[in-house]
Amino acid sequence: MSTPIESPVAAARTPRPRAAWLARLRPSGRTLVIAGPYTWLLLFFFVPFLLVVKISFADMELGIPPYTELVTIDQGVVHVALQLSHYAFLLTDSLYFATYISSLQVAAVTTLLCLLIGYPMAYYIARSNESARNLLMMAVMLPFWTSFVIRVYAWIGILKNNGLLNNFLMSIGLIHTPIELYRTNIAVYIGMVYSYLPFLVMPLYAHLVKMDLRLLEAASDLGAKPWKVFTTITLPLSKNGVIAGCLLVFIPAVGEYVIPELLGGANTLMIGRVMWNEFFDNADWPMASAVACAMVVLLLVPMALFQHFQAKQLEEGRK
C-alpha cells in the first residue's frame, strides 16, 4: 500500500536541489517585474542625486563640463581632490544663513495661510450636497490645470503700483497714494498661497468627505455645541489630511524659484532662487550643487515625515 504513495515523493525529492539552485540563478518573473521600475528610478532619481553630492566637492573650471574631476590618475598615482570650500562658505556666510531662515519662514507662513483659507474651503465643499461637491472641486482644480507661470503673472497686473488693486482702492477713496506691493515679500506670499492652495485643499477634502457624519450627529445629539463638535471630532479625524496637505505645500515652497523671481524684490531671499542664480548666472555648477545639498538637508525632516505618512497610508490600504 505504501509504494504508490512513496514513489512520487521520492521522485520529486531527488532532482529538487539542482532545480532550486538553477531557479535561483535565473531571475523569477516577480524579480523581473520589480526590477523594471526599480532600475528606472535608481538611474534617473537616485544616481543623479549622488552626482549632485559628488559635484558639490568639485571645483569650478572653464570648460565642458565646467567642473573639475574629483579623482585623477597621473603617472600611476591616484589624486583625490575634494573641494570643501563651498560647504565652508555655505555654513559661514551670513547672507546664506539669512536665505535659509527666510526660505523656511516664507514656506511656513505660506503653509499657515493656505491652511487658514483652505481648511474652511475643503470643509464646506465636503459638506455640500453631492452634485455641488464635484462641481466645486472641479473649480478648485481648474486653476491648477492652467499655466502656472501665467497665473503668477496675473498677479503682477493686480499688485503693481498702477495695477488693479491700487486703482480700485484709490477709486473708492480708501488710500490716496498706491501701496507698494509688487516686488515685495507680501506679493511673494500672495503668489505662493495662490499657487499652492489646491495642493492643500485636495488631500484635505479627500479626508473630510470620507468622514462618517453620524459621529457628528451623535455628538450634537448629546448636546455638544457646533464648535465643540468641530474641535473634538472633525479636526482630529482630519489630522492626516492636514499633515499631508501642509507637507505638500511646505516642502516644494522652500525651494520655490518662479514666484519670488516674478513677484519678489531684490531682497526676497529664497534658496531656490540663490541656487538658480549660482547655476545660470554665475555658471558655478559645484556651488549650485552644494546649495542643492544644503536644501535637501534643510528638507530632510519634512521629507522623512512625508515618506512616513505615505507609507502609513500604503499599509492602511493593504489591510
Binding site: 534617473f44 465643499i125 472641479m138 503682477i156 497686473g157
Partner: protein, 273 residues
C-alpha cells in the same frame, strides 16, 4: 443630519473662490483691451490675438511643448502604471522602503533639485558614453517623465488596491499566464485611472518650467520658457491673450473629461443594477 452654517459656508467659499478666480478673470478681461498698457482700459479689441498668430517664436515653442507633452504622457503612463502595480500587488520585497521613497520624493522635492541632478546625470553620461549628445527634446522628455511617473504610480496603486482580487485569481485559475491576466483583466479595469494619469502627465509636462530650463538646449525652448522670459520683463498684453486661450482650452477639456467620466460611471451603475 446636521446642516453646516449657511452664512459661514457662503462666506468662506465665496472668498476662497474669489481669491482663486479674480486673477484669472482679470487676465481674460484685459486680453481684450486695446491699450499697450495692460492695466489701463481703452476699448475692446482682439489685436493681441492677431499678434499671437504672427508670433513665430511662440508658435514654434507651443508645438515643441505639445510634442514633449504627448511623448511624456504616454511614457509616464506606461512606466508609472508598472511602478504603481509593483507597489500595490507585489507585497514587500527587498529594498521596498527605498522604492517607496523614490516614488514619493518626486511629489514634493523642489524642482530645482531634480533639475540640477538630472542635468548632471546627462552631462556625465555624455562625458563617458558620448550619449546623449547635448541637451534637447530627449533630455526634457526624460525629465518630465521623472516628474510624472510618481503621480501616475500613486493614482494606479490606489485604484489597483480597490479591485477585487478574485477577478484576477479566477483568470489565473482558468489557466491564463500572469502577463495575460495583467493585460486582459487588470488593465481594462483600471482604464479610468490610466486616463486620469495620462491627463495629469500631459498638463504637468506642458506646464513645466524649472526642469525644462535645466534640461533644454539651444533650439529646444518650450512654451513656458518663452512665456517666462517675456513676463520677467513685466506686463505684456500678448501673454494675456495666450492665457485666455489656455484657460478656454482647459475649461472645455475639463468639462468634456468630466462628462465622459460621469457617463461611464452611470453606465457601470446601470450594469450593476
Amino acid at each position: 443630519m446636521i446642516r453646516p452654517n449657511r452664512t459661514l459656508q457662503g462666506l468662506s467659499l465665496g472668498l476662497g473662490f474669489a481669491f482663486l478666480y479674480i486673477p484669472i478673470l482679470s487676465l481674460i478681461v484685459y486680453s481684450f483691451n486695446d491699450s499697450q498698457l495692460v492695466t489701463v482700459w481703452t476699448h475692446f479689441s482682439t489685436r493681441w490675438y492677431a499678434a499671437l498668430l504672427q508670433d513665430d517664436e511662440l508658435i514654434a515653442a507651443a508645438w515643441l511643448s505639445l510634442r514633449v507633452a504627448l511623448l511624456t504622457a504616454f511614457a509616464s503612463v506606461i512606466i508609472g502604471t508598472w511602478a504603481g502595480f509593483v507597489l500595490a500587488r507585489l507585497g514587500r520585497f527587498k529594498g521596498f522602503t527605498l522604492y517607496t521613497a523614490m516614488i514619493n520624493a518626486p511629489l514634493v522635492i523642489p524642482e530645482v533639485i531634480q533639475g540640477i541632478s538630472l542635468l548632471l546625470l546627462f552631462v556625465e553620461l555624455e562625458k563617458f558614453f558620448g550619449w546623449p549628445a547635448g541637451r534637447g527634446v530627449f533630455t526634457i522628455w526624460i525629465g518630465h517623465v521623472m516628474l510624472c511617473i510618481s503621480y501616475v504610480a500613486i493614482i494606479v496603486q490606489s485604484r489597483v488596491r480597490e479591485l477585487n482580487p478574485s477577478l484576477e485569481e479566477a483568470a489565473l485559475d482558468l489557466g491564463a499566464t500572469p502577463l495575460k491576466v495583467f493585460f486582459t483583466v487588470t488593465l481594462p479595469l483600471i482604464s479610468q485611472a490610466l486616463m486620469a494619469g495620462w491627463l495629469l502627465s500631459f498638463t504637468l509636462s506642458i506646464d513645466d518650467l524649472v526642469l525644462s530650463a535645466f534640461l533644454s538646449g539651444p533650439g529646444s525652448t518650450t512654451l513656458p520658457l518663452v512665456v517666462f522670459s517675456r513676463v520677467r520683463l513685466g506686463l505684456n498684453p500678448e501673454m494675456n491673450a495666450l492665457a485666455t486661450l489656455f484657460i478656454a482650452i482647459v475649461t472645455i477639456g475639463v468639462i468634456a473629461v468630466n462628462q465622459v467620466m460621469l457617463a461611464s460611471q452611470r453606465r457601470r451603475l446601470a450594469v450593476a443594477t
